[in-house]
Structures are given as structure tokens and as C-alpha cells.
Symmetry: C2
Subunit: 510 residues, 2 copies
Amino acid sequence: MPAPASNPRPGTGHPSADSVRPLRIGSPTGADAPEWDIEADVVVVGYGIAGACAAIEAARAGAEVVILERAGGWGGAAALAGGFIYMGGGTGLQRELGFDDDVENMRAFLTAAMGPGADRAKIDAYCEGSVAHYDWLVDAGVRFKSAFYGEPGWEPPADDGLMYTGGENAAPFNAVAEPAPRGHVPQMSAKKAGEQSAGLMLMTPLSERITELGVRSEYDVTTRRLVVSAGDDGDRVVGVLGTRFGRELSVRARRGVVLAAGSFTYNDAMMRAHVPLLAGRPGSAVEQHDGRAIRMGQAVGADLTHMDAAEVAIHCDPQMMVRGILVNGRGQRFVTEDTYPGRIGQEMALHQGNQAYLILDERAYEEAGTTVSATPFLRFRPKWVGETVAEVEAEMGLPGGALQATVELYNRHAARGEDPMFGKNAQWLRPIEGNIAVIDLRGRTGGFALGGLRTDPDSRVLHVDGDPVPGLFAAGRCTSGIAAWGYASGASLGDGSYFGRRAGISAAAS
Amino acid sequence: MPAPASNPRPGTGHPSADSVRPLRIGSPTGADAPEWDIEADVVVVGYGIAGACAAIEAARAGAEVVILERAGGWGGAAALAGGFIYMGGGTGLQRELGFDDDVENMRAFLTAAMGPGADRAKIDAYCEGSVAHYDWLVDAGVRFKSAFYGEPGWEPPADDGLMYTGGENAAPFNAVAEPAPRGHVPQMSAKKAGEQSAGLMLMTPLSERITELGVRSEYDVTTRRLVVSAGDDGDRVVGVLGTRFGRELSVRARRGVVLAAGSFTYNDAMMRAHVPLLAGRPGSAVEQHDGRAIRMGQAVGADLTHMDAAEVAIHCDPQMMVRGILVNGRGQRFVTEDTYPGRIGQEMALHQGNQAYLILDERAYEEAGTTVSATPFLRFRPKWVGETVAEVEAEMGLPGGALQATVELYNRHAARGEDPMFGKNAQWLRPIEGNIAVIDLRGRTGGFALGGLRTDPDSRVLHVDGDPVPGLFAAGRCTSGIAAWGYASGASLGDGSYFGRRAGISAAAS
């Protein structure tokens, strides 16, 4: 066996210029401490949804707060997002619109839909606090229009405030918990003009509260390393080092640092190591989501959880999917077509080799295109058309008889209004007849990573020992939240805002 | 929102008694260094396959070596294992038995079968060094009988030395690379008496070499923390702290520490966080595999890779599976039945909700039981029997027509010796006719975790920064090796031995 190959980065232990290793000092005021450029009680890294909520709660608790944001302004991925916030248990909006829900019902749904492996303690806290969290957002100035959107889709086409966003009303979850819509959408005033997103309408009032509270916001700051003080009680996080336009910036945190800097979706090496099936196909995240906050946490011994979990979007109009059948690369159905489209995306990308075709008859294809609920930019033209299933099956190169057997079985049950294979709701069941159109969905998925730092329900970052890392808190997509292998739209703005608030409260009390 | 709940382990930063946090000292000989109980150049943690190979190479390179083993004797999981070592590229045994193989062919197979996300650099090194690695094992005294076992099965029933162990000769991999058997089994002299395993026959000669080399072996030592020296060149690992029968033991490593202490399969919290689908169903690992070495590495900033990956065994005789069809909980086929049974297990546990049934006709059931290659303890009695597929379909409670459609499609193609759905070899294709037996395989899987510390091909443990952690090396199942989402039997003893040797060489040269 040859000697070890030479290493382009010799392992001398000298941190590289871009190191995430902590700066270790004796005490925040000692001789080896940096000359702090900025000092505050609570330092929040990242001005997206989690950081905004942390800053508000910390400031309201009396802490002096500074937010360090890498971009040139506030907002993060949240401001660009569709804006769903997953809340329930009987929120004001749910009650106004006549939907029954309670904490147990919400918990039952989330436990089933976010797992396996979902964090029970976080789901408990999240459900128990959800009604109050809704009130908190409304109190902070977030508006929700009292209108329900009940059509299949990714988002309401207009400004309706409530929608199903996790397959609550589809199999198998409609048998686990009483269906209740929990996707709360902040109201926009000009969505049609393309100038707003619901996410922006969420972030705008929060940023106004932050300004009113006297929180200091520093932009264009890339946070690079934590500063830890090796005191008698072990390593405690006492600040951060960053850079702004190449110049180093040192920020002291008297009480705590809150990491709220987003996912690792745009870090190719991390994606290949943890979510290889989605590497190279990022979706719905911003390029600042490079995993740095996660690595900064790891460098002080923080643990990781569910790093393989991912939200997956499938690029196809749900109005089309619900009217046809989805089959995998072998012509077999694999999911109920009327569920949350993100669940379809997860099944396809993670369990079906990213292969799927949508089979529609002509009537369904036309219907889907003419409904007012269609999403034109997600409506693709058929790749194959034919007068019979046998004809398109042959054109597609599927095993002879495979798609025919699938359609025959589906049709036989659909004619009776049943779908014993997947439990699709009767409303969408109709035999597939006449001319056939096939939409090629192979590869049409993308997503963002859901895994990250391990935190407790009080948003304390947990060391691999199981104890909190003193002085370090985190929330949002740099942490693993309520979702493990499943997902619902609104879970990220939901747990980011909820546990972001917890992070601010915990840090201020630290 | 209420204030943070009180924490049963207040975050004071005081490491708990069972902490994995490193002891940080100024220098290994300074005033704050422990009084070392043992000193050596290279300290190997764990006396399984990876530790044994590391110790041999480090000692041969002139290093003074000590092995710390938690159990009362050497062997680890390796000594209890079936004993396959995955090697190829044209090993002496492959050539003796008339099998063509080369580095490119082996690389093509592993790249396809161990992924997606498999470590290309490790696969390259592993394939390029495989023939020499075989020679090294033979030279160390490991014997391989020059006999090939060509039947479907988990292991050869007697002492044959070579077998297919990764689905090399089945779809889809038989179209990716020329099939070559690479599962090398150390020869036993008394397997039938149940007193030996091939793994023991691997470990026995290695332990003899270790004794001859004068390596010191310390048993009953649970390694608990690393010791790092905060020198000018950053944190360097300079020793370990452990306990033996409650008494602390400090061991200095002048050149390096090699972590080779196995997987996290028996750590429930880690399994729930990373491999929830297999939590509670450990297989083929020993209870010492509690992930501690991984956490000790994390505590000094080491990175993790592919923590969700897992080997999965399906508890069913391959002689039965190959003669029938496997269907999921909805009666759909999902994998070719003649592939590596571990691949069937992965597909079932990770992608089919751990649901599967084996459908056999009477003739196939009888044949499978009477072949000399049957594995009696993996032969289960049918849960359902019937005179027709329709009859068992109804008894099983499957959707009406689903299993019938699957069998009809399979039979139609099988009658022509074809399986366009999954590419099963013609040798095993025969229509399913007459009385039907159904083996219930739901939940009959178990496995071990494949993820762990991130290392480079020289077995240096990599910090989240990407640089090696000075003085720290690792191999075996506490690291992520050549496998990501796929697996082949022999890959663990294979990469454990191969990269174990690299770890010893690297540590001795450190």
C-alpha cells in the first residue's frame, strides 16, 4: 500500500481563511478578546423569518439586539416565499371560516405527516402554541384575508388567507385526523402585478416592529465564526466574527447568539453528503443558504438531525395531476394524485428514482387547462398522445401491458367511485377514456434541505453530549424543525417564526 | 408565549459525567496534561476489523501501538459477521476461479450500486488497491478456499470462498458492468458445528500478526473523550481518556488516534435522528456500536456524511424469493427478486414502507425448500394459501384486482422468458400457476447504520472546515465508507480493512 497521498491542504490545523472554527478566548473582556466593533445582549445572525421573530421577542424582553444580515436588506428566503405559515388548533382565521380544529387534531396530523422520526417534543410545543402564535402575528401587523381557497394547487391564485397545504384532506391523513386547512397566507395587495409575495407581506410588518423596537440591523455582513469563551463553566458562545466588504467585524453577544441563517440547499458538498437525490436541483431557497451557520454550530460541537430530509416541489399544475393518474417509470401508480403536491414530489424524488408520468384523457387535460384555478406556468404540453393507452404505452417505451394494467385497474374502481389502491377522493375519480395525453415529469422536481442543527423546543442548540451549548440558540432552516421525512407548505415559515420567537426569548433570558 | 421551560440538564456547560467533550490541554507534557497511564505513538480505539488493520500497518511502519477495546477480547462485530470482504479487480481468487474483472469494471459497478452520493475518491482508491489488498490479507494469514458458490443466498452454506454479494449479476447492474463475484469469504474449518464464522477466521490471523508485532492490547476499556492540545497550529488530538471498571484511564498518542469503534446502530437517539425507518430494528451489529466514537469526533468539529444510509437485511431465504414475485403493500412488484437480498431489503424498508409479500406457486415453494441451497431458518411458512391468485388477494385484503393484474402481467412476459418490468434473469422466470402461497414479510427487515465521520481516502478525519483534524484518523463503520444509499455484503469488512490500513499508515506518519 502506498504512503498517504500528499494533501493540497496540509493538515497543520491552521484554519483556512474561510474557516468556521470558533475563536477561543479567555473572557469577553480579557486581553485575548477582540476589540469588539459592536456589542449587544443578543446577536441574531440572519434577517429572515426566524431572525426577525427572535429579534422582536428578545427586544421585547428588554435585551439590546443587533441583527447581522448577509444580504443588502432584510427578508431572506421568507420574503420571496409563497408565504404560507402552518398554524392551527383553532386559530382566529380557522374559526372565522368555519373550520373546526384543536390541538390534538393538529398534533395527530403533524405526527403522521411529518414523520417518521419527527421531533415529538417540538410538534407538541408547536401545536400547543399555535393559536397564540397566530394572534401574535396578527398583533404584529400581519393581515390574513378571511377567505378560504379549496381548490387543488400550490398557492391560492389571489389573496385568500387559508388553504390545505399538507394533504390533510387526502389519503392517508384524512383517516388519521379530521381534515382542517392550516396554511395561513398573509394578504397581498398587488400579487397579480408580480410585485409582491405573501412572504413579503409577512416580513414587512415584522421589520416595522423591529425598527420600532430600536433593534440595530447591520447588512452586508457575512458571519464566519463564533467566538467562545473558555470559562470555568465550559465553552460559552460570547460573540461572532464576520466580514463586511472584506473588512473583519467582531460582534459581542453579552447574553447569546441566535443562528437563523437558513438551510444548506446551496452548498453542493453538503447536499451531496446528505441529500444526494436533490443535489444540483435547489428549489425555493436563496443562494445565501450555504449551510455556513450549520457548520459554525458543528464547529463548537453542536449535533445534527435529519440531514437527509427535504422539501420537494414537483413542477406540474396540481389541477392537472388531480385529474389524471401519476405513474412511475414502470407505469405503476405510487401516490394519490389529490394530495399535497409536495408529498407527490417527495414520493417521486426520494422513492421513485425521480421518474414520473402524468396520464390524462383529453377531457381531463382540457378541463385542467380551462379551470380558473389553473396555474399556467406549471401547465406543460403532453410529450406523448394517442388514441389508446396501448398506443402511448408503446410510444413511451414502457413494459408491454404495464400501463394498460394500471389504467384498467384504476378505471374499474373509479367507475364505482373508489380508489382502494391509494384512497383518492371520489370527487376526482373518473375512468380514463378516449384520447390519452402523457405529461413527462421525469426530473421535474427540486427542493430544499430540511435538516440542520439539533435544537430543543426552547431553541437552544444542543451539543452532541445532549446539553445545550451555552449562549447559542438557533431557529429556522439552519435547524431541524417539526418536519423529518414529510412536509407541509408553511412548516418552514411556521416553525421558523415559532421557534425563532423561542430563540429570542431564550437568548434574552440567558 | 411562556418563558422557556425549565431544563432538566441546565445549560451550564459543565460536561455531564458521560461527556464526549474533549479535554483541552496546553501541551501533552505541560502542567495541565493528565498523568498518562499509557503512552504510545498510535492509539487505536476498537479491536474489530478496522482497528486490527490499522494496528498492523502502524506497527509495521515502526510505530509503538496500543489498542483500546471495550469488550473483554478482540473481534468486534467483524468476528461475528458472515465474513464477506468485498474485493475485486482481478484478485488471485477471482483469477483462480476463472472470473475476469478489472479496476474499471469494479469501479463501474460500485459507482452505480453504492450511490447516489457515494464517495468517488474512496471508491477509486478502494478499487485501485483491491488486488493488493487481497494479497495483503492472504499474506497476513487469511485463507480463502478456491471454490465459487453460484446460488442465490445470503452466504455460502459451506466454506466456498467466492460469491456474488451485491447484485452484480442481476438487473440493473448487469447492464452497467460485466458481472464478477467479489464477495471473498475466509475459509472456516467447522462452520457446520456453529462454532465458527468466516468473520472469526478473518480476525484470528490478524490478531496473531498483531501479537507478533508487539502491539499492546488493553481490553474492557471504554473510550470516552479525546484529549486535544491547543498548540500554535490549532487543536491537535494527542490522546484519549477512557474508563476501565469505573477507573479512569488516560492514554497519550504521540502521533495519532485511530477511531475504529463501529457504528451507531445501537444508539436509539441517533437512529431516530438519522435512520428513523430502522430505529428499533438493529441487525448484524454488536451492542458496543453505540456511536460514541462518532460523537467524540463531532465534539472536536469533525463532519458527518450520509448518516441516513443503512444496510438492510430481509429475513427471507433468497432461494424462496428468487422463485416467486415480491410485491409491496398494494400488490405491486418493486424490485427484481434475483438481486442481492440486501438490495431487496433496502428497497422494502426505505421505499415501500417496510411492506412486502412473497407470492409463490406450490411448485416454487416446494422447490425452494428442497434445494440443497435452502436456508432453513429463513424459510417461513405461508400466511395465506389459495387455489387462485384472486383467492389469496381477497384473503390478504389487497385492493381487488391489484395482485391479479401484477401476476397476469408477470406471467405473460415470463412465459416468453422476459421481465421488462425489472429485468429478472430468464433462469428464474416461470409463470406463477396453480395453488398459491403467500409469505408475509411485513416488518421482516433489520439493519445497521452506514453513515458516520467524514474521512478522506487516507482515513484522516475531516473537520467541517474541510481540513483534516490533526492527529485524528478513523475507519470502519464509525465512518462513512464506500457505500451511500446502496450496499453490497462485504463492503463493511472491505472498507473497514482497507481504510483501516490507511488509517494506521497515516497515523504512524503523522
